[in-house]
Amino acid sequence: MTSVPVSAQEQPLVRSKLKSKHSILGLIILLLFLFPLTQLITANNLNYYLHLMLFIFMYIAMASSWNILGGYAGYISLGHNVFFAVGGYFSSYLLLRDGYSPFFTAPIAGFVAMALAFLVGFITLRVRGPAFIISTIALVLVFRIRLDNWERLGGANGLKLPLIDLPVEQIKFPFYYGMLILAIITVYTSYRIRHSKFGLGLRAISQNETKAEASGIPTSFYKIFAFAISGYFVGVAGAMWGYYLTYITPSIFLLILVGAQMVLMCILGGRGTVAGPVIGAIIMIGTNEFFLSEFGSSELNIFGTGAILAAVLLFFPEGIVGSLRKIGRLPAILDWD
């Protein structure tokens, strides 16, 4: 059993790079925080860019959140948009009835989504694989029908929300910062879970649940808890998103496409990696927006985005981050695991 001393030297190398990596990421975050303020100084109208970026932040948060269950534990959920809807409706309803700002009720909306996830997970996480996926699709359909017919919540017409009371050059600010902070917290949570004993347990579950259980992992509790955490951030995002749009209808949240979006971003970037959902969200929204602005509403954007997706998955079968790591070409700046 001769063995080559392989990664023995790799580690110190990584550690020395760690510091510069942290400072670069810190700088990027700082720039993102300062970016909107340029709008106050210069005459340029950056609202379009702010919109685009807060949209990306939101999807970074949602995809990273989805990744906790779908990536680490390996349970694919196509129904995470239900938590998106629950968060949106909860905060919007409180805004209309009592005038509470969704920015304050968003964390609570997250807990409502979490409670729902606990309840649903308790029932559906008994099954694995395709059966679980189908159960999540069923969840979307059930909520769609319920909300379409819930008169108090506006039924299929939805609810109209008041516009936030700010001058036009600042109107995107609270949402931009809200989504940015949410994205940072979510990615950080995902990172902490990835490195915790809990995360190790979830990854064991994704590889072989029977073995995981035999190793002493309380698998059902872990799965339900992962489901609940991954519902939380999506719920918070939903609360802010509804306020941002100034109206909510079931058809905004409860399309299969919205739920699939999170899944596709994770697969594109690399399921089960910390950086994967972030990269996936940026690429997917970025390319879609690019094709949309190039081809207008000709729906060629769908073709373009699809082509990019197919191409990426052809060359990076385990997602961009996952495949690059496998061949050892992952830039240190993206190695967040």
Partner: protein, 244 residues
């Protein structure tokens, strides 16, 4: 001192026939006991029942004077019985280090886990060298070493080994049995199933011969190795020696 006792165990899979048909076994503390027998004798099934993966239809498993017959696998593990199945139960896409951490999952104390993993690395330098590699990149022998090292992290009272030498080159088989001996030196009692009956009995203190789900013979390993009847029936060497 009797550590583990199995009494009249009857078990089978699903609604199928009984695989075990009344097995008795006594495992003394500090022993290496080797279970041999032809294919289908119920050797692996016996281990599965002991570690709680398979529920028996009848009979009892008593560990340190306490029945563990109806416990779940993780509860049995917490009692100190660790099972290393044939397929080695590694997580193929996790690194060697992560696999060892999985071995200590049932431990509450993180510092204690780290200390024990360090101890494993001291005993198996190969594993230390490869600790950042995925388990599926290891050779068969190294995987078996990792599986056994993983079992040691918990410092169990008993480890159950299901054919540790399966599919390994003769030189590596020797090495694996050295690890079995290492278990014993660490004060861990070993109950193993072995196809390679000769090698297994050579390293064992006690032997148990199973056939068709029943005990056929039970005694010190060297007695079994010397018994001509058993040699002919289960070790298959006598005829070779006679030149047939």
């Amino acid at each position: 001192m009797t550590l583990l006792e199995v009494k009249g165990l009857v078990a089978g899979y699903g609604s199928g026939p009984d695989i075990l048909r009344g097995i008795d076994l006594t495992l003394e503390a500090g022993q290496i006991q080797c279970i041999i027998g032809p294919n289908g004798a119920g050797k692996s099934t016996l281990l599965k029942v002991i570690c709680g993966i398979l529920k028996p239809r009848d009979g009892e498993v008593i560990f340190e004077g306490e029945s563990i017959t109806r416990l779940r696998p993780d509860q049995v593990l917490k009692k100190g019985i660790c099972f290393v199945p044939q397929e080695r139960s590694l997580f193929p896409h996790m690194t060697v280090g992560e696999n060892l951490r999985m071995g200590g999952y049932a431990l509450k104390n993180a510092r204690e886990t780290r200390k024990r993993i360090k101890e494993i690395y001291r005993q198996f330098p190969t594993l230390k060298q490869k600790r950042w590699q995925a388990a599926n990149q290891l050779s068969g022998g190294q995987q078996q070493m990792l599986a056994m090292g993983r079992a040691m992290v918990l410092s169990p009272k008993i480890v159950l080994l299901d054919e540790p030498s399966l599919g390994l080159a003769p030189l590596i088989v020797e090495h694996i049995f050295e690890i079995v001996r290492q278990f014993k030196e660490n004060g861990i009692t070993v109950l193993m199933v072995e196809q390679n009956a000769h090698k297994g009995l050579e390293f064992a203190d006690w032997g148990l011969v199973l056939d068709l789900g029943k005990n056929v013979f039970d005694g010190p390993a060297d007695t079994i190795l010397a018994d001509p009847r058993i040699q002919e029936l289960y070790l298959g060497t006598r005829r070779v020696q006679e030149g047939i």
